[in-house]
C-alpha cells in the first residue's frame, strides 16, 4: 500500500469513524460494544445516559464492575444467549435508572466479527420502551380488573338470582344468561326473540309493555321497572321483578336504540311470604270482624252464617257443622250447618250421643280432634268423612268456663291438611263462637225474664184495674141498692109513727112488718155482698176437682137440695176439671139455688146436669190466653123453671141484676158465679126461654189426666165421661 494510499485509507477510515460517531450520537437509542471478555469498548451518549455512567467509567469495565449484581447477571446472560444463538437476540431488559424507576428497554444484541472473521465483540442497541410497557401493563391490568369485575358481577347475579337479558335491537336477537334461562324456564339453545312478551300473563301484558315503551323513548331513556308474574313453558307461574334500559347510539340523528339490557329477579318466594303475611293480616282482621259480628249475633244459626261469611277464602273451608248440647246434657243436636255440613247432617243423626261420631268424641273428651289428612287417618270415625271427599277436618269443643255448649267442625275438600296457623285460627274462632253463643243465650234469657216480668206486671195491672173497677161498681151498686130498703125502713117507720099517733095499731103493725122485711132484705144484701167481695179477694188455687164427686156430696148434704124440694138428675160421668173445690161448690150451689128460686110456682123443679167437650171453635177464640194443649169442657145445669126474659139475658150475670121482682134475690148470686168461674180460668154462659127453663153452663179446663183419658178415646161423645 502506498503512502498516499495509506493516507487516503486513513482519511477514509477517520471519515468513517466520524460518520459512525455522529450517527451514534444522534441515535435515539443506546448503543454499546463489549469485547468477548465483557469489557466495554464503546458506549454512545444515550447509553452513557441510561447507564448513568460516563464513557471513561465504562470503557474497559465489565458489567459486574459497573452495575448491581442482578442487573449485571441479566446483561451477561443475554450476552451469552446472543452468542449461543448464532449472533443475534432480541429481548427486554430492565434497568433501574437514576429517576428511581425501572426502565424497560427493547434490546437487540448481536455479535460483531473481528478482523479474522471470528466473533470478536458483542454489541447492543436498546430503545427505552418503558412508556409502552407501562401502557401495556395498564391495559393488562384494566383487562384483568374488568374480568374480575365481570366475574364479581356474575357472582352477584348468581347470588341474587338475577338473570340478565340482552336484546340486540339491530339483529333482533336475544341473549339470556343461565340465571335468566332458569327464571324463565327457557331451555338451552336458540332463544325466541319474543320470549319475554310471551312469558307475560295476558292480564299483565298491557301495563308491562306501556312501562317498557318509556325506556325506548330516546327523550325519556327511563329505566323501566316492575313486578309481575310470568308463566313458564311448563305452566308454572313465577313472580319476577324486572329492570331494564335501552342503550342508544347517539352518533346518528335521531339517536337509535341498539340494545335492551335487563335484569330479572325471581321474587316468587318473597311474594309468597308477602301473601302469607297478607293472609295472616287478613285472618287477624277477619277474626276481629267476626268477633264484632258474633257479639251482635243472637241465634246460633246466625252465628254460624256469620262465621261462614267471615272465613277467609285462603282457608279453603268447604263445610262447617255446629252442634249444641241438648237439655239433658248427654247429647248433641245440630244447631247449624254450612257447606258439607249439610251433607254431614244428612249422614249423621240429627242428634249424637256423647262419644258417638267425631263431634260426640270431641264433646266427651273436650279436646280438639284434627284429622289431616283424613284419607289415611286411622281414627275409627274417619270413615264417615271419606265418602264426602273431606281431606282435612278439625273439630273443636265450644265451651265457656267448665260448661260445654257444643262443638264446631271445619272440613275441607281442597286441602290436604290444615296448617298450624289455620288450626290456631279455628281454635280462636271456636272460642269466639262459644262466647257469642253464651252471650246470645244470656241475652235471650234476660229478654225472656224481662218479657215475663213485663207480662206479669201488665197482667197484674190489668187484673188490678179490673178488680178496682169491679169494686167501684160494686161499692156504688151496693150502697145504691142498700138505700132502697133503708129508705123503705125510714119511710115505714115514719108512717108507723103517724099511725100510732092517730091510734091506728093495725096500720102501725103493717108498717112495722114492712120494716122487718126491708131489714131482712138489707141483711141478704149485706151477706151476699160479703160473699162476693170475699170471692174476689180469696185465693182460688187451681187443683183437680172431680165435679161428679163434688155434686154428689152437695146433693147428699145440702138440705135445700134434697129430692123433696128439687129433683137433680146427673147424666153420664162428670169430668175431673182444673178448678177449685170451694169455688166450684159455690158456683154449683148458686146455680142449683137459682133453679130452685126460679122454679115455676108450685112445681118441684126438674134439674139436669151433664158435661160436654167445649166446641173447638170457641176454644180457638180464647187460645191466646189459655193453654191450648188442654181440652175444655162444659158443665150444664138445666132447669124447667120460669126462664129468663130475652132482653135480660145479656145482663143476667151483672151485679144487682134481678130477673124477677116477685122472687126474692139480691142480684149478686150469678155475678158471684161468673166471678168465681173466671178466677178458675173459665167462663160462664146461659141459654134460656121464658116459661120453658134455663140452661146455665160453666166452661173449665179438663185436668191433665182427664185430658189424657179423653184423647185416648177420641171420637167418643160426652157419655164416656
Amino acid at each position: 500500500m502506498s503512502q498516499s494510499d495509506r493516507k487516503q485509507a486513513e482519511a477514509a477510515l477517520q471519515e468513517s469513524e466520524e460518520r459512525f460517531a455522529a450517527f451514534m450520537n444522534h441515535l435515539p437509542g443506546a448503543a454499546w460494544i463489549k469485547d468477548l471478555s465483557g469489557r466495554y469498548v464503546y458506549a454512545n451518549p444515550e447509553a452513557q445516559r441510561i447507564f448513568s455512567r460516563s464513557l471513561p467509567a465504562l470503557l474497559g469495565k465489565t458489567d459486574e464492575e459497573v452495575f448491581p449484581p442482578e442487573t449485571a447477571r441479566q446483561f451477561r446472560e443475554n450476552d451469552h444467549r446472543a452468542l449461543a444463538e448464532g449472533g443475534s437476540l432480541q429481548t427486554t431488559e430492565v434497568l433501574h435508572q437514576a429517576d428511581g424507576l425501572d426502565h424497560y428497554s427493547m434490546v437487540n444484541k448481536f455479535v460483531l466479527p473481528g478482523p479474522g472473521g471470528q466473533a470478536a465483540f458483542i454489541a447492543g442497541v436498546a430503545f427505552d420502551v418503558t412508556e409502552r410497557k407501562r401502557a401495556e401493563e395498564a391495559v393488562r391490568k384494566s383487562e384483568e380488573e374488568l374480568r374480575e369485575r365481570e366475574q364479581r358481577l356474575r357472582l352477584a347475579l348468581e347470588t341474587a338470582a338475577l338473570g340478565s337479558y340482552e336484546r340486540d335491537l339491530l339483529t333482533n336477537t336475544v341473549h339470556l344468561d343461565e340465571n335468566c334461562r332458569a327464571i324463565l324456564g327457557v331451555p338451552a339453545g336458540r332463544v325466541d326473540p319474543e320470549v319475554a312478551r310471551k312469558s307475560l300473563l295476558p292480564e299483565d301484558v298491557g301495563w308491562v309493555l306501556t312501562v317498557v315503551a318509556r325506556a325506548y323513548d330516546p327523550a325519556r331513556r327511563e329505566i323501566c321497572a316492575g313486578e309481575f308474574r310470568i308463566r313458564r313453558p311448563d305452566g308454572t307461574i313465577r313472580w319476577v321483578a324486572a329492570r331494564g334500559r335501552v342503550v342508544f347510539d347517539d352518533t346518528v340523528t335521531p339517536p337509535r336504540g341498539v340494545k335492551f339490557l335487563g335484569v330479572l329477579h325471581d321474587i316468587t318466594e318473597r311474594k309468597l311470604a308477602e301473601q302469607m303475611l297478607q293472609n295472616q293480616n287478613r285472618r287477624l282482621s277477619l277474626l276481629s270482624q267476626a268477633t264484632a259480628k258474633l257479639l251482635l249475633a243472637e241465634h246460633p244459626e246466625q252465628i254460624l252464617a256469620d262465621v261462614a261469611e267471615q272465613l277467609p277464602e285462603c282457608l279453603l273451608v268447604d263445610g262447617i257443622l255446629e252442634l249444641g248440647v241438648s237439655e239433658n246434657g248427654r247429647e248433641l243436636h245440630v244447631q247449624g250447618c254450612w257447606g258439607i255440613g249439610r251433607e254431614l247432617q244428612e249422614h249423621e243423626l240429627s242428634s249424637l250421643k256423647f262419644g258417638q261420631g267425631l263431634s260426640g268424641t270431641v264433646a266427651q273428651e273436650r279436646k280438639p280432634l284434627i284429622l289431616a289428612p283424613v284419607q289415611v287417618s286411622a281414627h275409627p270415625e274417619a270413615g264417615l268423612l271419606k265418602p264426602l271427599g273431606v281431606k282435612a277436618y278439625a273439630c273443636y269443643p265450644l265451651s265457656v268456663g267448665d260448661r260445654l255448649l257444643g262443638t264446631i267442625a271445619f272440613a275441607s275438600r281442597r286441602r290436604e291438611r290444615f296448617e298450624p296457623r289455620d288450626l290456631e285460627f279455628f281454635e280462636t274462632l271456636a272460642g269466639h263462637v262459644a262466647l257469642a253463643q253464651e252471650r246470645g243465650r244470656l241475652n235471650q234469657e234476660l229478654r225472656r225474664h224481662a218479657e215475663t216480668l213485663q207480662g206479669t206486671v201488665e197482667e197484674r195491672t190489668a187484673k188490678l184495674q179490673e178488680m178496682v173497677g169491679e169494686l167501684e161498681h160494686f161499692s156504688y151498686s151496693i150502697t145504691h141498692d142498700m138505700r132502697g130498703p133503708l129508705r123503705a125502713m125510714r119511710g115505714f117507720a115514719e108512717f108507723a109513727n103517724l099511725a100510732c099517733e092517730q091510734d091506728k095499731p093495725r096500720e102501725a103493725r103493717e108498717y112495722l112488718q114492712r120494716i122487718a122485711s126491708s131489714a131482712e132484705r138489707m141483711d141478704c144484701l149485706i151477706t151476699d155482698a160479703l160473699h162476693y167481695s170475699q170471692s174476689v179477694r180469696q185465693e182460688l188455687p187451681l187443683e183437680e176437682v172431680d165435679t161428679g164427686a163434688l155434686l154428689r156430696g152437695m146433693l147428699d148434704t145440702y138440705p135445700e137440695l134434697q129430692a123433696s124440694r128439687m129433683h137433680v138428675q146427673v147424666q153420664g160421668k162428670l169430668p175431673v176439671v182444673l178448678g177449685n173445690q170451694a169455688g166450684l161448690t159455690q158456683c154449683l150451689s148458686n146455680l142449683l139455688g137459682n133453679a130452685l128460686k126460679f122454679a115455676k110456682p108450685g112445681q118441684v123443679p126438674q134439674i139436669r146436669v151433664w158435661a160436654e167437650p167445649a166446641r173447638s171453635a170457641e176454644c180457638g177464640v180464647r187460645s191466646e190466653s189459655q193453654d191450648g194443649s188442654r181440652a175444655w169442657v162444659r158443665i150444664y145445669v138445666e132447669d124447667n123453671g120460669i126462664g129468663i126474659a130475652e132482653e135480660l139475658l145479656p145482663r143476667v150475670f151483672d151485679m144487682f141484676s134481678r130477673g124477677n121482682k116477685k122472687v126474692e134475690g139480691t142480684g149478686i148470686g150469678l155475678a158471684l158465679v161468673r166471678k168465681v168461674t173466671q178466677r178458675m180460668g173459665g167462663r160462664v154462659g146461659v141459654e134460656s126461654e121464658e116459661g120453658v127453663g134455663s140452661r146455665f153452663w160453666l166452661e173449665l179446663r179438663k185436668s191433665a189426666s182427664e185430658g189424657a183419658r179423653a184423647s185416648g178415646r177420641e171420637g167418643k161423645d160426652y157419655e164416656t165421661f
Partner: protein
C-alpha cells in the same frame, strides 16, 4: 093542659115496692089517687105507653100527662125506656121526669142528652113523697093555671 088535676094521669115506673107504696100514699093524701098509675118494670112501661097487652083499655089506662121514671129498673133500664119514649113521634113532647136516688153526675148528663124533661132526686124518706106530688101538681097537673 088539663084544668082538673084529677083528670090528669101520672105514670110512675118503679120496681121498688116500698117507693111505689109511698107514692100511692102521697097521691092519696093529696086527693089525687085516681091520677096515679104504677108499673113495676120497663117492659110494662112500654106496654102501657103503646096500649098493648093488659093496657089496651085507655079508659082504665089513659095516655099519661107526665111520666115519672125510676132509673134502676130490671128487664129494661130507665134510660132504655126514655130512649124508646123519645123515639115515638106521639111522645116527643111528653114530659118525662127521671126519678132516681142516683147521685152520679153522668146519670144526669145522660138523662139530659136522651131528652128527659127533668131529673128529680128520690126523697130519702117516705113522708117527703108528698112534696113530689106538689111539684107535679104545680108543673103539669093544672093547679098553677087554676091559681
Amino acid at each position: 093542659m088539663n084544668a082538673d088535676p084529677r083528670a090528669a094521669t101520672v105514670l110512675y115506673v118503679e120496681d121498688e115496692e116500698s117507693d111505689a107504696l109511698f107514692m100511692q100514699m102521697a097521691f092519696a093524701s093529696a086527693g089525687l089517687a085516681p091520677a096515679l098509675r104504677v108499673v113495676d118494670d120497663g117492659r110494662s112501661a112500654l106496654e102501657y105507653l103503646s096500649g098493648n097487652g093488659v093496657y089496651t083499655d085507655r079508659g082504665q089506662y089513659p095516655v099519661p100527662t107526665v111520666v115519672l121514671l125510676d132509673l134502676n129498673l130490671q128487664t129494661l133500664h130507665g134510660f132504655e125506656v126514655l130512649k124508646w119514649i123519645r123515639a115515638q113521634p106521639q111522645y116527643a113532647a111528653l114530659p118525662v121526669v127521671l126519678f132516681s136516688s142516683s147521685t152520679k153526675p153522668e146519670d144526669r148528663i145522660r138523662a139530659r142528652d136522651l131528652g128527659a124533661t127533668e131529673f128529680w132526686e128520690k126523697p130519702s124518706s117516705g113522708l117527703k113523697f108528698g112534696a113530689v106530688v106538689e111539684r107535679l101538681k104545680e108543673k103539669w097537673l093544672g093547679m098553677a093555671q087554676a091559681k
